[in-house]
Amino acid sequence: MTDLYVWVVLAPLIGSVIAGVFGKSIGRAGAHWACILGVGVSTLISGAAFGHIVLEGGAAFESTLYHWGRVGDLTLEIGFLVDPLSATMMFVVSFVSLMVHIYTIGYMRDDPGYQRFFSYIALFTFAMLMLCMSNNFLQLFFGWEAVGVVSYLLIGFWFQRESAIRANLKAFLVNRIGDLGFLLGVAAVLFYFGTLRYSEVFELAPSLQGATLSIFPGADWSVASLICILLFMGAMGKSAQFPLHVWLPDSMEGPTPISALIHAATMVTAGIFMVARMSPLFEQSETALSVVLVVGAITALFMGLLGLVQNDIKRVVAYSTLSQLGYMAVALGASAYAAAIFHLVTHAFFKALLFLAAGSVIIALHHNQDMRSMGGLRKYMPVTWITSLLGSLALIGFPGFAGFFSKDAIIEAVHLSEVPGHDFAYWCVVIGVFVTALYSFRLYFLVFHGKERMDEHAREHLHESPWVVTVPLVLLAIPSVLIGWIGIEPMLFGDHFGDSLFVLSEHDVLARLGDSYRGEAAFIGHAFATPPLYLALAGVACAWYFYMVRPDLPALCARRLAPVHSVLVHKYGFDLLYEEVLARIGRGLGSLFWRIGDRILIDGMLVNGSARVVGWFSSLIRQLQTGFLYTYAFAMIIGLVALMSLFVFLRMQGHS
């Protein structure tokens, strides 16, 4: 088995290396075939693994492949853990990735960096699969950083654009903050458990109950909370949770396939996956769960609101991604890990679909992304239209579609949860349903219905995209509709995940939900008795009224509610805060030290004084600025005196 699983990660890596190193000599077709073949192999094996472990209920597989190094008692190794949770992720990641690879052939057709792009996305697939299949924290961290680096490279793919460079730097820096937390979390795990292997850590996890640690003297922190919150900081960076969400909308500067693959379907879910994977740790700390819940709830509602005022088609989808990631985090916080992963799976399909559909629209309009110059595309692009409609319905949770099952399960789970903050979270996710419906259908109506606002030139060239673009759309639309029906029972209430997720019985909201579960149809029926469904319909209705019946109303609202509108347009001022305040403080500090150290101490004190501070040496080498030397020497003497006073003089005072 090991041999087979190794190829899941190796095949995309080999494809990437071939496309990256020999790109010039094998040409465009060679590059895309190498990568698609590699990812195809992964998808096949992942599918087989999924079938074997999840569907047939085979035993989870764990094996160590390679010892990287040994530090003291600690062994650093590369190994694979394929259990139902990672098998699910592997399958989703490789499948979506394969679709994106095929789609890219069409989308990037005219780009000069074609081979480079394929090399990057195959490399990304490799890194993401390493992350998912890891059986230890070190490899997890490796995958974590590797997807971060590839994402950095891909956001800045069009590096001639100033905005793309700014966006990728921003993504990298914001992620570093999260990664710092994550690294500290991993360090804390190592410090406390003395091992990095999941199985050993999870076995010891119950011992965390009540354990405290004092990092700074006098303050005792619960070890479990500390570890979990630090790890979650990493998740906040990768999964773009408030307040580290700022990079995701800007990351839309990258090519659309990247937005679909990395920033919707896979990489951003790494944080969610990680928290689910660490469920035995998170279960030990109610505080941490509460933090996850509240952060997720804030993200779910407030990021959705921002989607209402965006005009760039990809940014709307990006904000919807943020909001949906918030939903997943809420589910994690409510200990409904299975619901989070379920939503992750459904979301991966329908959000990749929506992004690829948006990309299809963008190709048709010659890379114009402004929704204000779209409209009425229904006639010209039937396949894109139908698939987007299906995707939007899935996103808003229309009964029967994939998103419905997963999102309703989350809302119900939060309703039953008793973690501190659950009331707030519940209201956030419920109102979020309305907001989601509003912005999704705003996009839908603005793009596919209504007046045709594009210019004449663009209208003449409008036509449906080639098959390499539409086939992935159709292939993704199928699961977007069906996966909910198929998935809900085994994933939420059945034995899909086996013991790869761990929930304490007092937290187990899904079990309680399962008690009243009577099949898919009844679940839909139940929805008619709860507010979310009506809120979603109200959202659609509002969108229809605002953008189809009275298109003048939105502008009027924006004028009337100018303060609110401006807050939303400025994204609550986070960009301003980070760029103008925090980044400036950092830069200021650097130049301040430089000014004090180099300018004032050396240049200031000495350039003026150099004419006077001339010693014996300066008469020999007059033309040199000997003044400098004087300060250097003096600084050394001062250092010497300081050390002497600290260690000798004070010690003597202490003795006598």
Binding site: R612, V613, I638, L640, V641, M652
Partner: protein
């Protein structure tokens, strides 16, 4: 007792001379005071029966190093005004730090730490005892390795000094005698055959 008087005399001269080295304005005087300081410390060493070291100090430092020093100082003709200015300008700060260091050192290095009861007086030797021979024996046996390294250090100093000073300055017009001697006729004179033009 007489020895003690002699010691204190030379010690006082030594301290005075060393102090003058850094306070006196004329660099030539400073160098001469340094010579005086070397002399008096050589005398102190003789009191300690380290004759060889004392004589080497006088020979090498006074005879060679300081003479070289004096040459350099006199050849370079140092402007004294800025020197004085800088000295007073930073005198306060420098003095404060110096006092701090000296005070701390005195606190630690009192005579109770290095007094006779701790270290013990050196053994008196007979008059025919050869200090030089003993030193030589030690240097070529026990300290052979450091001695060899010291030789290498000196070699490096010579190499460095020569390679830093012996250089061809760009733009200097100097003759190369070897080339001049080795010159051949063909380098200097070119014989050109021309057909004489016929007159019309």
């Amino acid at each position: 007792m007489a020895e003690l008087v002699v010691f204190y005399c030379f010690a006082a001269i030594l301290v005075f001379a060393a102090f003058r080295v850094i306070t006196v304005r004329n660099p030539v005087h400073a160098a001469l005071f340094l010579v005086l300081a070397f002399f008096s410390s050589a005398c102190v060493w003789i009191l300690l029966e380290a004759e060889f070291l004392a004589i080497v100090l006088v020979l090498v430092y006074v005879g060679a190093v300081m003479v070289l020093f004096l040459f350099v100082v006199m050849m370079l003709d140092i402007n004294l005004a800025p020197l004085r200015e800088g000295f007073t300008r930073y005198l306060g700060l420098g003095a404060a730090v110096a006092v701090l260091i000296v005070a701390q050192l005195l606190l630690v290095l009192g005579s109770d730490r290095f007094g006779l009861e701790r270290v013990g007086a050196p053994v008196r030797r007979a008059a025919d005892y050869s200090n030089t021979e003993e030193l030589g024996v030690l240097l070529y046996t026990v300290y052979a390795y450091p001695f060899e390294i010291a030789a290498v250090v000196l070699l490096v100093a010579i190499i460095a000094a020569i390679s830093l000073t012996m250089r061809r300055r760009p733009g200097i017009k100097a003759q190369n005698p070897a080339e001049q001697v080795a010159v051949r006729r063909s380098d200097r004179v070119r014989l050109v055959k021309m057909r004489s033009e016929s007159r019309r």
